[in-house]
């Protein structure tokens, strides 16, 4: 009666060793007091780290910023990606070249993207603040990265620029899988351009849209690189998201125990989000 387990044992052992063990060890740090510069630390502290988390105004601020960051990044990436995909789906001279150019940002390492944009936004070397000032969008050509009210928008701009091609690529692939005859049938049936978009393109794209938005949401919420590179979460934690707060706690505060507790909280929140979405998807599939 143990035989079936023996067959699946190699796979289970592999999953356990590569996935579960690191997770469990990582989560266990959240219940310990680990300060890198304090050799006496490392003891078990129970839920102390989590109690502190609930009282930590920086964490709650980072959580709020995470929502703004994720929603803005994903929302604009999706919108621009959809527009690009629709434009690239019709033939025009030079399409291949433009297509390649548009997909270029996706091939650039995030780290470089962050550096590039922080320079673009820096009035000493970059043109953007001067342009914004000339257009009357800013009162003075300042660096928004050092403005607590707008610092988060620097990484958001960079993130939109970097992530739009992802949506453009996936949505373009989905668009190209729509049979041309269906559009022709609708054209003969009397549907104009907008009506064809509404009654054919959108229903065809919906599954791809749902999946890519879900994936990107988790992905973007988990990605602190742009923020760490461009603002380090500053000024004064004004652009901190939860993921970058974990990084700051671990490598600037050197408080690994607390950083693990913050990370565990983020994982829990994303798990809840993922389960909700899976439930919604199941409900949608059931209805079809």
């Amino acid at each position: 009666m143990f035989e079936p387990y023996l067959y699946s044992a190699p796979a289970l052992l592999l999953v356990a060793a590569t996935t579960l063990v690191p997770i469990v060890i990582g989560i266990s740090y959240a219940f310990r007091n680990i300060m890198l510069l304090d050799p006496t630390s490392g003891g078990f502290v129970g839920l102390d780290n989590f109690r502190e988390l609930l009282r930590d105004a920086s964490f709650w601020n980072a959580l709020k910023n995470t929502v703004v960051w994720t929603a803005s990044c994903v929302g604009f990436q999706f919108l621009f990606g959809l527009i690009l995909a629709l434009m690239l789906n019709r033939p025009f001279p030079g399409r291949a070249l433009i297509q390649a150019t548009i997909f270029l940002p996706w091939a650039i390492p995030t780290f470089l993207v962050g550096m590039n944009w922080s320079w673009l936004l820096n009035p000493a070397i970059g043109p953007l603040p001067h342009w914004a000032y000339a257009l009357g969008l800013m009162n003075a050509p300042d660096n928004i990265l050092s403005d607590p009210d707008y610092a988060l928008w620097g990484p958001i701009f960079a993130g939109i620029w970097w992530g739009t091609p992802f949506f453009a690529i996936t949505l373009l692939a989905a668009l190209q899988s729509i049979p041309r005859e269906i559009y022709e049938a609708a054209e003969i049936d009397g549907a104009g351009g907008l009506e064809r978009f509404r009654s054919i393109t959108l229903p065809f794209l919906a599954p791809t849209m749902v999946i890519t938005v879900l994936l990107r949401t988790i992905w973007v919420a988990n990605s602190p690189e742009l923020i760490v590179v461009m603002t380090k979460g500053g000024p004064a934690d004004a652009s901190q998201i939860v993921a970058s707060y974990v990084f700051t706690q671990a490598y600037q505060g050197l408080n690994f125990g607390y950083a693990s507790a913050v990370a565990t909280a983020l994982v829990l929140l994303l798990l809840i989000y993922a389960f909700l979405l899976i439930a919604i998807r199941q409900a949608m599939l059931g209805r079809r």
């Binding site: 003969i188 049936d189 009397g190 549907a191």
Partner: protein, 358 residues
């Protein structure tokens, strides 16, 4: 219901000429079938009528109105596609009613029209189903229903039966014909299948290489083909072609194949100067055995039988020929058999241009 007039229509895709000047008049209520091998331009011609492609030059009139500058939706036509092109996220009823909804027809009226079309096509029980829950034949019917509810001036069919199995195809062929009889609407039907063309058409338009080869009733094309292409394309098994010589004699034109007498035509025929001709004769017009006409001898090669009939492959002076017969024959390879040829069943073609010699 309306006539369709096509005047000197050309279509070029870059340097490639797909339609090289097509003139065609389809009468109101007629069922016209465009037939030809793939790449002959028949689908392009249909798409030009529908407005899905623009003609490079020429004029298209539907019901006396010039339409080549109008978008498809203003041409008042309906089209049935090879892939059916049903809207996958709409159920059968919505698929059929979509065009009416776009015209802001009241709900009750849509339900009435769609219901009537559904009843005509036997789709009443399937109204709530999505296309993917239907069989090929049912999808085909929905596509037809979508065309019917619009009550268009003309129906266009683009190889609508090619995705069905043989039995279903036979049945739908019959149903489309019956539907046409009931509705009496002008129809243009594209197919590469000469059997569909023969069984369904009021008139066949045989096309090849962007040029209309012949227009006529199925039997006109069958009995009196204008050239080698039509003679070879229409009919199954296909017409036999033998290269032979023609010599004008006192009793008529004597034909020979490989130096042996084949038959003698009594009517006057314009024969090329060198006497070389292509002799065409349909497999079912050759009788095995000694008969009233000329008798030639051939060697049996192989017999294929379908039960109802057999095709006998024979060798006549080194050239392959088929004979279609309903007799059951036991022949061994190489066996000499006499063939009776009736001169009135023979068509002569010019071996150079492929045109009919009359």
């Amino acid at each position: 219901m309306a006539s369709i007039d096509i005047k000197n229509v050309r279509k070029d895709f870059g340097p490639v000429s797909v339609l090289k000047g097509v003139d065609l008049a389809i009468a109101s209520g007629e069922f016209a079938v465009l037939v030809g091998p793939s790449g002959c331009g028949k689908s392009t011609l249909l798409r030009l009528i529908a407005g899905l492609e623009d003609a490079s030059s020429g004029e298209i009139h539907i019901g006396g109105r010039r339409v080549d500058d109008l978008p498809p939706r203003d041409r008042d036509i309906a089209m049935v596609f090879q892939s059916y092109a049903l809207y996958p996220h709409m159920n059968v009823r919505d698929n059929m009613g979509y065009s009416l909804r776009l015209k802001r027809t009241p709900q009750a009226r849509i339900a009435e029209i769609v219901g009537r079309a559904g009843a005509k096509l036997g789709l009443e029980a399937l109204g709530e189903r999505k296309p993917r829950e239907l069989s090929g034949g049912q999808r085909q019917r929905v596509a037809m229903g979508r065309a019917i509810v619009r009550n268009p001036k003309a129906f266009l069919f683009d190889e609508p039966l090619s995705n069905l199995d043989a039995r279903m195809r036979e049945q739908m062929r019959f149903e489309i014909r019956k539907l046409h009889r009931d509705l009496g609407a002008t129809s243009v039907y594209v197919t590469h299948d000469q059997i569909e063309a023969m069984t369904m058409a009021d008139r066949i338009v045989a096309m090849n290489a962007g040029i209309i080869q012949q227009v006529g009733t199925p039997l006109e094309l069958y009995d009196d083909p204008a050239n080698v292409f039509v003679a070879g394309f229409i009919g199954s098994p296909a017409m036999n072609f033998l290269s032979g010589e023609a010599r004008r004699g006192e009793t008529g034109v004597a034909l020979s194949v490989g130096g042996k007498a084949f038959c003698t035509l009594s009517q006057a025929v314009a024969v090329p100067e060198d006497g070389r001709v292509t002799i065409g004769i349909r497999p079912e017009r050759i009788r095995i055995g000694v008969g009233a006409g000329q008798v030639v001898e051939a060697a049996a090669d192989l017999v294929e039988t379908t039960g109802a009939a057999s095709v006998v492959h024979v060798d006549l002076a080194g050239q392959a020929m088929k004979i279609f017969t309903t007799e059951r024959l036991q022949l061994t390879q190489g066996q000499r058999i006499p063939l009776a040829i009736d001169a009135k069943d023979v068509c002569l073609f010019d071996p150079a241009g492929g045109g009919r010699l009359r």
